[in-house]
Symmetry: C2
Subunit: 252 residues, 2 copies
DNA sequence: TTTATAAAGTGACGAAACGTCACTGACGAT
DNA sequence: ATCGTCAGTGACGTTTCGTCACTTTATAAA
């Protein structure tokens, strides 16, 4: 008569992860556009009903992938944050960690972008949406920390009419725009001939930081060579993986 | 034995437009995520087969909507280009014409963003893709023209390691990032509390232009009040429409 | 050990949407 | 009048989604 408690909290998490990974593999192999629940179910030792116990629908699953992606990015951001260097250098490094992520995990990057659309948000579970918000906040912590450092040592002063949050967002949206438009995921962006993403990201970052008056200004410092060193120091494995992919970061 | 020529070239174009408009209405009413070919067919006095004669699939139709959207934006850009004012003012105005467009035609803005994904590009017709490229090039002409003007009167100098194309792209991707992340279409972007799109677009533009050294620098000029005047001059009808929507551009 | 009970798991099924294709009918040439 | 061609049609096969009636499993009570 006593209701039996059969569910293992830990096992549940593990199973959810399994489904999640299956989905990510499918996206990597065949593209987000070819992801179907039937394929996910086929790739996993559980039935459709069980999969739907974890994810209320395809969109919910996609948002879960997106959340996982943000966690991965979050780690990269934190490592950029920890770099020993001046604040402007560190922010530049953070922007490039975003690029590394977009190159290394295109399927995750794509999932995050897609999951921002109303068609996904509208069908995801409340819980997953909350998780998403929390993760995005976590993401901002590293950015915020670097800006704080800049303000602290007076290499950066808040521009008129802007607070810290706005400054952080300016950097974020700038990187987002450049990487979204130039990373391979978005095909056919005309006027994009001869534009190399790493070079433009460097340019845009420098323009923005100079506009903020973030010292040392790009006229004073060889930000390019410094960046190369910082990247090799903080993200050696990731750079190696990128080269393995036949790609190479190239500013000149 | 002689093959009869029954198709009226003009009528074809007209019919295609009709289908296109039906699709746009459906998107406006029910969102892009609820657009189906069956609904389009039902809203139009032609059969499914005929609709599929014009658009080889749902994605092709979506790209057609996107192309139409770019034409609309193209017109706004050109009007900003024509404004009598200093080059920096005009570029700021152009960025805001982009915002006006995003506010006034959210369904078109959404369609353009979505149509950039591989899932759409991959299934659209070759012809439609070419058209897309051409339209995007057309879009860039106004931007290019304003930059040229700035270079011409020495209010702007090319930053080291950047050419005109790169400069144009910097402006474009900056606006794209800010508007995409802050316009209502992308829900739930955490760290977005208290961020008002028109204020941030102004901030980002000023930071970027200052970073380029585009005179007059924002410390010298009251760009805010000047922008308000320019907007009222060039886009009075659009601003009225925005107010009709219960929205109001507000920088403070 | 057996039985009762509720949670967990299953996969067949109906609904919805996509895109195709065999057919119809209209029009011009002969 | 007849034939050939092509635009137009919509029923149909296919895919995918998400549900739900049913089976299995695990534990507590008898």
């Amino acid at each position: 008569m006593t209701p039996p408690k059969l569910l293992d909290e830990n096992g549940l998490k593990e199973r959810e992860k399994k489904i999640l990974m299956a989905a990510i593999h499918l996206i990597r192999e065949a593209g987000l556009e070819n992801l179907t629940m039937d394929k996910v179910v086929a790739k996993v030792p559980f039935s459709k009903g069980t999969v739907y116990k974890h994810f209320i629908g395809k969109e919910d699953l996609l948002l879960a992938v997106s959340n996982h992606a943000i966690e991965v990015l979050s780690d990269l951001f934190y490592r950029a944050y920890e770099f020993k260097g001046c604040s402007r250098e560190r922010m530049l490094l953070l922007n490039f960690s975003y690029l590394i992520y977009a190159i290394l995990y295109p399927e995750l990057f794509q999932a995050v972008i897609c999951s921002k659309s109303q068609s996904v948000i509208g069908k995801a579970s409340e819980q997953r949406l909350n998780e998403h918000d929390q993760l995005e906040t976590k993401l901002l912590i590293s950015i915020h920390g670097i800006v704080d450092a800049g303000l602290g040592d007076n290499s950066l002063t808040l521009p008129t009419n802007m607070n810290i949050q706005q400054l952080c967002f300016a950097n974020w949206s700038m990187s987002y725009g450049a990487i979204t438009l130039l990373s391979g995921e978005v095909e056919s962006c005309s006027g994009r001939t001869d534009l190399i993403i790493e070079r433009e990201l460097l340019n845009h970052s420098n323009l923005l930081f100079d506009g903020m008056g973030w010292k040392p200004l790009s006229t004073e410092a060889k930000s390019c060579t410094k960046l190369t060193v910082a990247l090799q120091t903080v993200f050696p494995d990731e750079l190696a993986l990128i080269e393995k992919k036949g790609r190479q970061l190239n500013f000149n």
